[in-house]
């Protein structure tokens, strides 16, 4: 603690580096609570802002969750169709057995599954509800099918494989809808791009909402800011409460988004799983885990801080005592 004599007799205590660091930490600690209680004083306004931010955050996050879960699921069942090999001989026959073993020896093939005539019928009636119609036949009209999955997922390779399989004995016909597969994956790509574009837009929206809310607060506190600058407050000192306000706005918005996302996921999970099961898929919507929840809150808080950085400095510099 140094007492310096400034010209002429008046003494002004100069603060040591440590004192100033302590003061800085004290200011942060004090603002952490005081900005929240200041915001809560207008709790209606705060709730509205939190809800708006929550909605803007939860939409892109929900879409991302949907996309990610589609990506993670073993969806070959749904999206990547097998090569369907319709057999000319019954499933138990020697020809069929020979065909299966020679297919299993081909290195390009990952898996061969036999669906017998009875299984094909059961599946068809379950999927289509045409059981009664089929019952009208005295005999099962459906052939046995081999579902062949290739190691490669490339359309061209699979088409070559199809030709190779076609040359074998005991086959009635082969179907592989490469076009369908490609269409689906490009649709998925479009959805992914739309999601990302929307996500970026919504996140920008959150930054703007927070920036604008803070701009109004700054406008209301113009006099206070002028006085602080007049008695030697730095721009950083004046800016600090608004950074904390931005933090709380974003954090609360993140919490709102978390609530909306979790309840939407729970609400959606039952119908989605029912749908997935009908495709024999284990696709399931999972609620956000602990880490993901933290990431969401941090995202909200981070956007709040970015929002305040973007808008506050610009407005504060313009406010000067006069």
């Amino acid at each position: 603690m140094s007492e310096r004599r400034v010209t002429g007799g008046a003494t002004q205590r100069l603060l040591s580096r440590r004192d100033r660091l302590r003061a800085w930490a004290r200011h942060h600690r004090q603002l952490f609570g005081s900005t929240l209680s200041a915001l809560l004083r207008d709790w209606m306004g705060l709730m509205t802002t939190w809800l708006v931010i929550g909605i803007a955050l939860s939409l892109p996050v929900l879409m991302l969750i949907g996309l990610r879960q589609i990506g993670e699921t073993d969806h070959r069942q749904v999206i990547e169709p097998a090569i369907s090999v319709y057999l000319s001989s019954p499933s138990g026959s020697a020809v069929t057995q020979g065909l299966i073993s020679s297919l299993r020896q081909m290195p390009e093939i990952r898996q061969v599954t036999l669906i017998s005539e009875a299984e094909a019928l059961a599946e068809f009636s379950e999927r289509s509800g045409f059981f009664d119609v089929l019952n009208a036949f005295s005999e099962n009209p459906l052939p046995a099918v081999l579902e062949v999955r290739s190691v490669s997922t490339e359309g061209a390779t699979i088409r070559l494989l199809t030709q190779k399989i076609g040359a074998l004995e005991g086959i009635d016909s082969i179907s592989f809808d490469a076009a369908w597969r490609q269409r689906l994956s490009s649709v998925l790509l479009i959805i992914e791009r739309i999601t990302l574009a929307l996500g970026v837009l919504f996140l920008c929206g959150v930054v703007l909402i927070i920036g604008n809310t803070l701009r109004l607060t700054i406008e209301n506190r113009r006099h206070e800011i002028e006085v602080i600058k007049l008695v030697g407050g730095t721009d950083a000192f004046v800016q600090r409460p608004f950074v904390y306000r931005g933090f709380w706005l974003g954090m609360g918005g993140g919490l709102m988004a978390w609530i909306m996302i979790q309840s939407s996921l729970i609400y959606l999970s039952v119908p989605v799983e029912t749908l997935a099961r009908s495709y024999r898929s284990d696709f399931a919507l999972e609620a956000l885990g602990f880490q993901e929840s933290l990431v969401l809150l941090a995202l909200g808080a981070g956007l709040g801080i970015v929002g305040s950085m973007v808008s506050v400095r610009r407005h504060l510099v313009k406010i000067q005592p006069n």
């Binding site: 600058k229 007049l230 030697g232 730095t234 005592p321």
Partner: protein
């Protein structure tokens, strides 16, 4: 302490407020800055704390040339000055104590020190019993004294007051002036802008007189 050298100030509007103003205040000096309304008194004060910049000429405060001072150094400079400005008075959503404590909190003094210094400043202006009050509940004279306490609480070597008695009756004005004189006796350089010539005549002090932006003999 404060030196003006051939200072010329023209506002962006084209309005000329000061021309060829030169003077120097020594440490501990007590001076009145007089002149009719519009003479440039407020402009001069604003130049001294870098609220405005001179168009030509030099302004030096505590040896620093304000024309060459980068914006980020301005806060540090203002902490060396206590200001009592008419239109920058109190913050009405803070108690008297918090108003006076503001300069200390900005500078980063520890809370115990803030407390003792704010109490000392309030007792100096005779408002010891009002520290928990809200500024709205105070009279005009009391509010002005809170403003003075805020201006001196961090013990600045220079005190600038722009029409500090502007809205007060003669009795209160005299009280406020004697406060300033006391600070001056403690070694603070004091400059008071006023157009209240009756009051100036009562107090033996150096006088700088402005007329249409120029310094003239009173």
């Amino acid at each position: 302490m404060l030196t003006f050298d051939q200072v010329f100030k023209r506002y962006e509007t084209g309005q000329e407020a000061l021309a060829e103003v030169s003077f120097s205040l020594d440490p501990g000096e007590f001076v009145f800055l007089t002149g009719p309304s519009g003479a440039g008194k407020s402009t001069l004060m604003k130049l001294a704390i870098a609220m405005e910049r001179s168009t030509r000429g030099q302004v030096l405060l505590d040896g620093q040339n304000l024309n060459q001072l980068p914006a980020r150094k301005i806060p540090e400079l203002r902490r060396k000055v206590g200001v009592v400005f008419q239109n920058h008075q109190l913050l009405f959503d803070r108690s008297v104590f918090d108003n006076v404590a503001l300069p200390l909190e900005i500078a980063g003094h520890p809370p115990s020190e803030v407390k003792s210094r704010v109490r000392a400043a309030l007792s100096k202006v005779g408002l010891s019993n009002k520290e928990r009050d809200w500024p709205v509940t105070l009279s005009g004279g009391e509010q002005q004294r809170v403003g003075i306490a805020r201006a001196v609480v961090h013990r600045p070597p220079l005190l600038l007051a722009d029409e500090p008695t502007g809205n007060l009756d003669p009795e209160l004005s005299r009280e406020i002036m004697s406060l300033f004189q006391q600070f001056s006796q403690l070694g603070v350089t004091v400059m008071i802008a006023t157009h209240d010539l009756d009051l100036v005549r009562e107090i033996p002090a150096q006088r700088l007189h402005l007329q249409s932006g120029r310094m003239v003999q009173p």
